[in-house]
């Protein structure tokens, strides 16, 4: 393995090194705890030409599309602000021809990632899709969007989707260690699959913790260190979306964004204020406090509600008992070495 073992760096460095123009880029998060700071940084650096994958597009997709960074969108659900009379950056980009979209169901989209994560070239989906326009209307994926094969056991039609292996996944989690072991809990959705299907993984987290914390709770680890490329500690990194155990959704900022999203100029103004004029997440939070007061942020901070721990205990953690005897044979090291000598088992 050629990756450095410690993956801690800054968000600008991570985006510079691991996100390229024209990449297939996937938002790892699903509605909750979205990797907002990485989205902001990608926009600040002017990266573009993406094929963007998103399970459920909210601010993340709107901002990247509004920034003109996305050419193709693989989606299941996009944001629409303000009902029939409203709009969205996605709608405007479709209308002016600058964006192509390929629609899937949540499950179909996830199946593409599951195939990618496991190294398969395709995954089965449910046959009912064949009667819908999801199946019948195709955009940039053409024939490959869905294909139909015969089950070798039942002879029935099986609908397939092709594997997705995005170039880079950006994802926000609760905690990680400096090696890149990332822990996430709450609504699992497609988060692990999005990360593991991807070629490169950039992780922001609310806190970088000692590796002992990670190693004591391995069932919460969704990305093992050897798959991670970058780890960045970004408190409030998902604001205005929420992070389970850290802070709630900020309905004020969310509302301001939603109102802005309905119109192109308003959205541009929002981005100027919150993305371009804030050089990093700390500047963004400082600006927020200046605009709205620290009390509003403080109100969002989660009160602790801890999971019941799992006991990983064992009766002992050494071969040798308190009297220095091997638990198996009841012998001390000296006795063992003498025995090996006696039996003629030692060579030099």
């Amino acid at each position: 393995m050629s990756k450095p073992i410690e993956k801690v760096m800054s968000a600008p460095d991570a985006v510079k090194r691991f996100v390229n123009d024209g990449d297939h880029l996937i938002i790892g998060n699903y509605t909750v705890g979205t990797c907002m700071e990485l989205v902001f940084e990608i926009i600040r650096q002017g990266k573009k030409g993406f094929t963007l994958y998103s399970q459920s597009g909210i601010l993340d997709v709107e901002l990247l599309v509004a920034a003109g960074a996305v050419e193709r969108l693989v989606a299941t659900y996009v944001l629409r602000s303000g009902g029939r009379n409203g709009g969205s950056a996605v709608e405007r980009a479709l209308q002016d021809g600058s964006l192509q979209i390929e629609d899937y169901t949540n499950y179909n989209y996830n199946a593409r990632l599951m195939a990618g994560m496991h190294g398969f070239s395709f995954m089965q989906v449910f046959e009912g899709i064949m009667v819908t326009d999801l199946f019948k209307k195709r955009s940039f994926m053409g024939e490959d969007k869905y294909r139909v094969i015969k089950c070798p056991y039942t002879g029935k039609d099986v609908v397939t989707v092709p594997a997705a292996n995005p170039d880079v996944c950006i994802v926000h989690v609760q905690r990680a260690d400096k090696f890149g072991n990332a822990q996430y809990w709450g609504a699992i959705g497609s988060v692990p699959a999005a990360a593991l299907a991807s070629k490169r993984i950039i992780i922001t987290c609310e806190e970088i913790v000692d590796t002992e914390i990670i190693r004591s709770s391995p069932h919460h680890t969704i990305i093992p260190a050897f798959r991670a490329d970058a780890v960045i500690e970004v408190p409030w990194g998902a604001h205005p979306t929420e992070v389970v155990g850290h802070y709630n959704q900020d309905k004020l900022m969310w509302g301001l964004f939603i109102m802005a999203a309905a119109g192109g100029k308003r959205l541009q103004a929002w981005m100027d204020e919150w993305v371009f004029n804030c050089q990093d997440r700390q500047a963004y939070i400082d600006h927020y406090v200046e605009r709205f007061g620290s009390g509003r942020l403080q109100k969002l901070v989660a009160k602790p509600l801890y999971s019941a721990p799992a006991n990983y205990g064992s009766a002992f953690h050494s071969t040798w008992d308190a009297n220095g005897k091997d638990r198996g044979t009841g012998l001390t090291m000296e006795e063992i070495e003498n025995l090996l000598e006696e039996r003629g088992l030692l060579h030099d």
Partner: protein, 275 residues
Amino acid sequence: MTKKYTLDELLIIAVAREIHDYDNVILGIGLPTTAGALAKALHAPQANLMMEAGMIDFEPVIPPNHIADVMACKGYACATDLFTAFTMTYRGFVDICFLGVGQIDKFGNLNTTSIGDYYKPDLRLPGSGGAADFISYSKRTILTMRGGEFVEELEYFTSPGYLGGGNERDRSGLFPQGSGPAKLITQKGIFEFDPVTKEIVLASIHPRISVKDVQKDVPWELKISETLAETKPPSDAEINFIRDFAPAAAMGRALASEIGFANLIKELEARGKIQ
């Protein structure tokens, strides 16, 4: 004497009554989560409320912000992933699900994707999300509509109802026998589907709504049930639960937003943060 109610409350309560005790329930966001919380509190204490993001058996203590909002409950019994939440549906373990409607045709087929040319749409709606797969494989589906429309022909076919009607859905072999939309609930009435033709039928009408009021939204001659009933009004317990659990849902989205926004401005002004 019963308490007075809003039309939003009537709709939520009609939805809640579709959930039976012991049901495995997939809830969508908004109205169904409040309905699910109501059902669990009042008449279906052992209903298993689930979300496609992988939350199994959750009991919301506040209305969830979205489909992946575990902070709206104090714990849930099992965290699975989205893939498994759907394959569990495909295997037949989901008794009932709820979908919102953008456009609906005579046979309960749905569009929640786009209006106009799909590739350059007049209106881009959210898309399928979980809808197409849930209505395909849940044993029953309850549709709800606020702001959607009845149309002769869908502009995009997102989610399968009874296809061309009659037994076409069952005959296709693509769906569990007997599945499909069971009811459509709007702010005017409750619709069912004719057991033979699968055409939508007005089955129950809310108080003070006339058949004419309903017909004017429907571009074909709407079938009316021979046993057309008036929707049973909400009980005090149902109304009180909704107001306590989700006052914004009781008020309706428009009013709740208006007052919420005013409240925010007032708070910011008081702190000198808005001039």
